[in-house]
């Protein structure tokens, strides 16, 4: 999980409170406070300016140049962006990333919602605490370390997974050496580590649904699946929307798992967009190409966020 952002819903709420909860206006005039305001804002704004605003502008400019640091930058127009369609490695890595995002997010959301519903159902407190902790535990580990561990577990010759499958007479699978196997492992390892995040979000969303709604519906004869379909699903939809957007944004940036476990291989089968940013900038010194790919990635993230804004206005049920 790498980038942080608030939900648009809470942004809006934040801006609304901003309008209504004005601090005492007399503080505006006080001299000492003016100094304090600028001194207190300075570290954050100098920092964000130097390390986010200027870099993003620099990236936008750099994306139109060819630059290897050593020789002078050369203007190339949209050539770097065209690599997306011309350069097979760049193109495949984007297709891989998008395919990965779709499958990983669907799997992650399904697993985390199902487990959140089970954990929030009636059970002793100690059991709930145990399951909740156990299920989000992987979130606190380093993705690089987890990937090291998993590359041993999925090792073709001596890995525990193949040994276990061997008990059922299944021959040794080349998990990390075949295209499909490597894709499955990257997906499993990523979801294994990250489902805990959407799981926590769903737990919060489920806890906010009033018990009375379920009681009323069971008096009306609704049970099991119908309750899930007609009560849980619509009432939890704001959480589902936020969870899917955050899961998509996080999955778009996948790097650690394929870098450590497969190096993008076999061939380019598990190469992702961020791996191409890394390779083109820091292995091939194609800083312009790396910037262009980064800009495309940012545009994708902005697009997903914009869609979230629209959807949250139209379809989501705010109870």
């Amino acid at each position: 999980m790498s980038i942080t952002m608030p939900t648009p819903a809470s942004d809006v709420a934040a801006f609304e409170t901003l309008e209504t909860e004005h601090p005492a206006p007399n503080q505006r005039a006080k001299r000492g406070y003016r100094t304090l305001i600028w001194v207190f804002l300075a570290p954050t704004f100098i920092g964000l300016g130097l390390f986010t605003f200027i870099p993003i502008l620099a990236s936008m400019v750099l994306a139109f140049f060819r630059w290897d640091i050593i020789t002078a930058p050369q203007f190339v127009g949209f050539q770097n962006f065209a690599q997306l369609f011309v350069n097979p490695t760049v193109g495949i890595s984007f297709l891989n990333t998008i395919g990965f995002v779709i499958v990983a997010v669907v799997v992650q959301l399904a697993i985390s919602l199902a487990l959140a519903i089970l954990v929030q159902s009636r059970m002793p407190d100690w059991a709930r605490t145990f399951f909740r902790s156990a299920l989000f535990f992987p979130l606190i580990l380093s993705a690089a370390s987890v990937s090291l561990v998993m590359s041993y577990l999925f090792n073709q010759e001596f890995g525990v997974i193949n040994q276990f499958l061997g008990l059922f007479g299944i021959p040794k699978i080349g998990w990390l050496t075949t295209g499909l196997g490597a894709k499955i492992v990257v997906l499993l390892v990523y979801v294994w580590q990250n489902f805990g995040f959407t799981f926590l979000l769903f737990i919060g969303g489920l806890a906010a649904i009033p018990k009375e709604v379920y009681e009323a519906s069971s008096i009306d004869g609704a049970t099991g699946w119908r309750q899930f379909r007609f009560i849980t699903m619509p009432l939890i939809s704001p959480t589902t929307l936020v969870a899917s957007v955050m899961a998509i944004i996080s999955a778009l940036q996948i790097f650690d798992q394929p870098y450590v476990m497969t190096k993008g291989g076999p061939g380019d089968e598990t190469r992702t967009a961020v791996m191409v940013i890394y390779d083109s900038a820091f292995q091939q010194l194609e800083f312009g190409l790396a910037s262009a790919i980064g800009i495309v990635l940012t545009l994708l993230i902005m697009l997903v966020t914009a869609i979230q804004f629209r959807l949250s206005r139209r379809y989501v049920f705010y109870g």
Binding site: M5, T7, F15, L36, T52, R122, L135, F282, T298
Partner: protein, 278 residues
Amino acid sequence: MSVIEQVHRPSPWMRIGSVSKYLVLLVAAFLTLGPVVWTAITALTPTDPATQTSQFGFAAFADVFVQVPFWLFTWNSALVTLLIAAGQMLSAAMAGYVFARFDFKGKNLLFALVLATMMVPMQVTIVPVFMLVRGMGLADTLLALIIPALPTAFGTFLMRQYFMGMPPELGEAAEIDGAGPWKVFFSIYLPLSAPGLAIVGILAFNYHWNEFFRPLIMTISEENFTLPLGLVSLQGNLGSGSVSTVLAGVILSMIPAIFVFIFGQRPLREGLTAGSGK
């Protein structure tokens, strides 16, 4: 599901449902904890290269310190993580306080700018940040990891929310008693914001103790490696020969994170889901 059980008489089907519920959860817990337990067991039973037999013991743990400067990696990781966490707590508290408590021209625009930076993925800014850090003469130093990570948009957002929850009368009362603007912040609001600061600090710890991408780019010499980078390079050097040694390193590097998980789980959970951010 819980409510169905409360309202209806328990039928045999419900009992089966309840058993399978625990079964599913137990399998899920086994799958999340299993790999970690396997890592610990394998680290504790290294294979002797001479006899090819596994023996229980801490030999693999000792071997980590022989193969790589493990203490140095730990020190680097601790230094980077703690300085970033402290810096983020302070800068976020100050900026969040200003956004929550004062009114001034351009405030909404400035706050919107802070929120906007949360949409920019770090991988997009990494090339210019790398150039900038290099230009500052910080290439291949720990400062290259620390300084760019000090400002935090999400932490600022979180602390602003936190300070907005505090009554303005607190500060006003202190002002009447003669406290100046700095004193009001440092001796009244800042101490009261400790739980919010804990969230910012723990999130910073969780992220930077484990991060891999930035150290991979910003550091070149082994003496500047942080733990995740050091472990990956250890595996690269050893090949598949000494699985136990690599896994012992993994286990050791997890210890601080597990401490935070046990003693700081509440702020960790709150932080991860606060504003649905992570």
